[in-house]
Amino acid sequence: MTDVTNTPVPSGPEKSRGSSLYALDKRTKRRNAAEARFKAYGIAAVCVGLAFLVILLVSIVRNGIPAFTQTFVELPIYLNEEKLDPDGNRDPAAMSKVSTFGYNPLIEDALVQLMADNGIETDMDGPTLRKMLSSSVPAQVRDYTLANPDQVGETVTFRVLASSRVDGYMKGRVQREDLERDKNLDAAHLDIVDQLVDAGAVERTFNWAFITGADASESRPEQAGIGVSMIGSFFMMIVVLVLALPIGVAASIYLEEFAAKNRFTDLIEVNISNLAAVPSIVFGILGLAVFIQFGGLPQSAPLVGGLVLTLMTLPTIIISTRASLKAVPPSIRDAALGVGASKTQAVFHHVLPLAMPGILTGTIIGLAQALGETAPLLLIGMVGYIATNYPEGIVDGFLAPNSAMPAQIYEWAKRADPAYYERAWGGIIVLLLFLMTMNIIAIILRRRFERRW
């Protein structure tokens, strides 16, 4: 600027009085640069954090969305009477003697016919063509036939699952060169698929079976769904809600309203704050040792999972409940005591209802936490159990072995077939949708009933 910059930087204690404020000395410039840098680090850190979130969400959505669609083949199958019902009396009991295996020739014939109908030239025989379909198809046809014996002898058009390779090809996951070493499918199959797509016999549609269905065996990823483990999670959450809410609220009321300042209270407080930070896997060990080994409860049962998650969730619920109890001003208690209510009546008639929205918010957040927890479930046997059946009735729901959503996702992620990875990501979308819904409910509750004193 002007002459001021030429003068040496004032550095001695005898700083020149009256130096101009309009001129920035070198040191101040340097310090301002440091300031800008520091601020930039902060912005960068926030941006990195947000970037991680975006990357995470994008990779979940991009990898998981395909799980919600599935490739189906429209296949007219002639239900050959000679093979399915040689006696010709349409007796389901007699017909059930034909095993699923016995339906394969019908399907193979149908496929060959399909090729011919659509003018697709191929030198593949029936069994080779059948590799394009899921191995669940014979069972599907058999179930239909046994349920509708009068249809035998007719040609029925089935919507059958394509095999996971074909599905993967439709979704872009499987390329022709990937199939070179594949024993199940050849590139030639994919040419046929292309032609079938053009003919409208193969299409990709929304896959309800993924949301409502059961898990399938290792070799049939196209059939696997998260529905049954969702039910498992549901029963666990019931256990958590029924146990953790009352116990948590009761414990909080005691600590916040009644507890004397003594060692016992301190002990409880220390325990709660430590339990909140104990690794979840340790709760799994507790569940295994106490509920299964000592208590004799069945392995893999949602009841046990629910108990373990209850113990894990309790500290969260207690901490948030205490905060909402604390937020109720003492004047409310004084007012109730002033008209002759007992301490208990004051708490239960006045304080608790006022604190309820906060308590519910905390409980929902605690439940959401419990819903996504996986590690303790590994130890009580909820992973490795293949949840293929819906529980029969409520007692079964609590006690029969089942999986849970996060455990199911883990199970899929462990399987070798990459088609299962897609299912795992899809499962995560379902899980996150649940968590998001719960958190939104919690936020709405808080906004709606938040009271400022």
Binding site: P13, L21, Y22, T28, N32
Partner: protein, 268 residues
């Protein structure tokens, strides 16, 4: 309101050679609240100027304008001109950091940093690069502590934490800390309100000594304190500067009836 022009007339007389700070037509807004209205004032060098007035009258707000501490409050907006040595401190070219080195501040509650006594004093000189060497810094620290009239009490425990001192000592430490950066103006926001009478007495003595080198502006609640330590007094009321003049004159012969009511204890 017809007194206003008269008092304004008084202040807007030509700044004397001795004038350090001039404020013209200063307005301060907190969001929608108009906290300071049309304040004009000339503050002299090597003089203690007291700002008095009832709570919420804007005296602290105005004080914080003088070294732009209000910049740290997002909703605060300052209009008008405040000049130090004829340089507008709200000019775009002015870096508040440099300004604050020139205009030091002592706060209502003693706020020593959780560091040693030595580091508390050395903090300002270090960030402003006032010391060339360790010996230099030692000298600044000693000089500042002496000027803060606390050297004798702490010279044996310079490396003890500053938070361990008593309230009065802490406040003198904060004054010494402010002095250490070689400011030209020293702003004090109710420096004695958190202190007991004895500590207050010591701090007041200190303020009187500081007058020889600095322009000291002090906000105070206590009229007695204003009368004891200041040469000039400004009376604020509801965001207006009601009256400004020699301390003796304000206290013995106030021109504005509002000042008189305040002095005599009817408002405030």
């Amino acid at each position: 309101m017809n007194q206003m022009p008269m008092t304004s007339e008084n202040v807007t007389t030509m700044p004397t050679k001795n004038t350090k700070i001039t404020a013209r037509d200063v307005q301060v807004y907190y969001g929608d609240t108009h906290a300071i209205k049309d304040v004009d004032v000339d503050i002299e060098d090597r003089t203690v100027t007291a700002f008095i007035g009832p709570s919420g009258c804007g005296k602290s707000t105005f004080l914080r304008c003088l070294n732009r501490m209000n910049d740290t409050i997002d909703i605060c907006r300052v209009e008008g001109a405040i000049k130090i040595d004829n340089e507008d401190i709200y000019d775009k070219k002015v870096d508040p950091v440099q300004l604050r080195a020139k205009v030091g501040m002592v706060f209502q509650k003693p706020n020593p940093f959780p560091k040693s006594i030595y580091d508390n004093i050395a903090y300002g000189p270090r960030i402003h690069g006032l010391a060339k060497s360790k010996a230099d810094l030692d000298e600044i620290v000693e000089k500042s502590l002496r000027r803060g009239a606390i050297w004798d009490e702490v010279k044996d425990r310079l490396h003890a934490p500053g938070t361990g001192l008593s309230g009065g000592q802490q406040q003198r430490l904060c004054i010494a800390r402010a002095v250490a950066t070689e400011p030209e103006v020293l702003l004090m926001d109710e420096p004695c309100s958190a202190l007991d009478p004895i500590a207050t007495d010591q701090v007041e003595d200190l303020i009187d000594e500081l007058r020889s080198q600095y322009s000291v502006v002090i906000v105070t609640h206590s009229m007695q304190q204003a009368a004891r330590v200041s040469q000039k007094t400004a009376f604020f009321h509801l965001g207006n500067l009601v009256e400004y003049g020699e301390t003796d004159q304000i206290f013995t012969n106030p021109k504005d009836p509002r000042t008189e009511s305040y002095i005599s204890g009817r408002i405030g």
